[in-house]
């Protein structure tokens, strides 16, 4: 039998260490993500870098969302509805690569994260399902 949308969405909450970008997250993060899009011009990047707080205050974001940006706390930004491809505009503005920025979400040092990737990456073993522990 075909899954309902409720069953489809419920499964996404069963993946360890992962926030799937569902409609719920997309709605919550709308302004956070739209702010990120604004960093796609050099003029806006300069203005943001010159005074981050003032720039953020121009957007209809929650205080919690603004704080995740100021802190460059990308896990918290995901919880506030951010999506990584939008958030990438922030770390690109900072001059960081995906490799450097993504590693910050893992609790590992940049060196350890880079070494793990060169050694073949993180194994999915034990990280497929919270419920099944596999």
């Amino acid at each position: 039998m075909k899954q309902t949308i409720h069953e489809y969405l419920a499964e996404f909450e069963d993946i360890p260490g992962t926030r799937v970008y569902t409609a719920q997250r997309g709605r919550k993060g709308y302004w956070l993500n739209q702010f990120c899009m604004s960093l796609m011009t050099p003029e806006n990047r300069e203005r943001f870098k010159a005074d981050e707080r003032t720039y953020l205050d121009e957007w209809a974001m929650t205080e919690a969302q603004k704080q995740t940006v100021l802190d460059r706390d990308y896990n918290a930004a995901l919880d506030e509805g951010g999506n990584i491809y939008f958030l990438a505009k922030i770390f690109s503005t900072d001059g960081l690569s995906f490799l450097q920025a993504v590693g910050t979400m893992t609790g590992m040092t940049p060196e350890d994260y880079q070494a793990m990737m060169i050694a073949g990456g993180r194994s999915p073993e034990g990280l497929r399902s919270i419920k099944d522990g596999n």
Binding site: E11, G26, M40, N75, L78, T106, P124
Partner: protein, 279 residues
Amino acid sequence: MARITAAIASSHVPAIGAAIDNGKTEEAYWKPLFEGYEWTKQWLKEEKPDVVILVYNDHASAFSMDMIPTFAIGCAEEYQSADEGWGPRPVPPVVGEPDLAWHIAQSCILDEFDLTIINKMDVDHGLTVPMSLMFGQPDAWPVKVVPIAVNVVQYPPPTGNRCWMLGEAIARAVESFPEDLNVQIWGTGGMSHQLQGPRAGLINQDFDNAYLDDLTENPQRLREMPHIEYLREAGSEGIEMVMWLIMRGALGDNVKPLHRHYHVPGSNTAVGHLVLKPE
């Protein structure tokens, strides 16, 4: 008549573009990755496709949270490289093929695939990195491009079966285009990678290699694969592989693999590459 003569699958990691743009392809970290594309670069010089239908996903560059088309087709004369936050990649403009693109759009809509028509957009690394991998750094790209942009960012993305069927519809559309064109279809993105959360860095070589095998040996398994399986096995951004099924669906029942390459890592990502010929 236009005909789809071959297909290419490839990852489209942004750092690969940066490595090419900054002259790092000979460095020890990058060399093995790029070597796996040498065969294809030579083969393309002999094949001389006129047009590439390039299936990719936009990474919040042309499409913000304001508009999210599930399937969109570029019908423009030309596309510029997007500024993704570090300035546009220094690559030539991508030249479109509006006659064929509009023909595909119209044909697919009447064939019950309601593509969104795009007349103006910038294209990001999802499209330009595969171009650089296959053609290097020319002054002008040697092919025209029909971009097919697929939403794999906002859930739910299209199902594998739907992607496959769109590929079939695109093939029918190409076959009914009167001009004599050598057309390739490329599926891009993947393979296993996760760019977010504590599980970031996930790579699943067994999953990826089985996927590469089954594009030839058991495509029905891939066609039926649910999104949750990509997410669990190949990481949250591994879902991009679903786009390869548009390419595969356009090739018919049987294909012959001409070239295969797999390398870990390209930045955070498992890089996979396949050249297929319809039989």
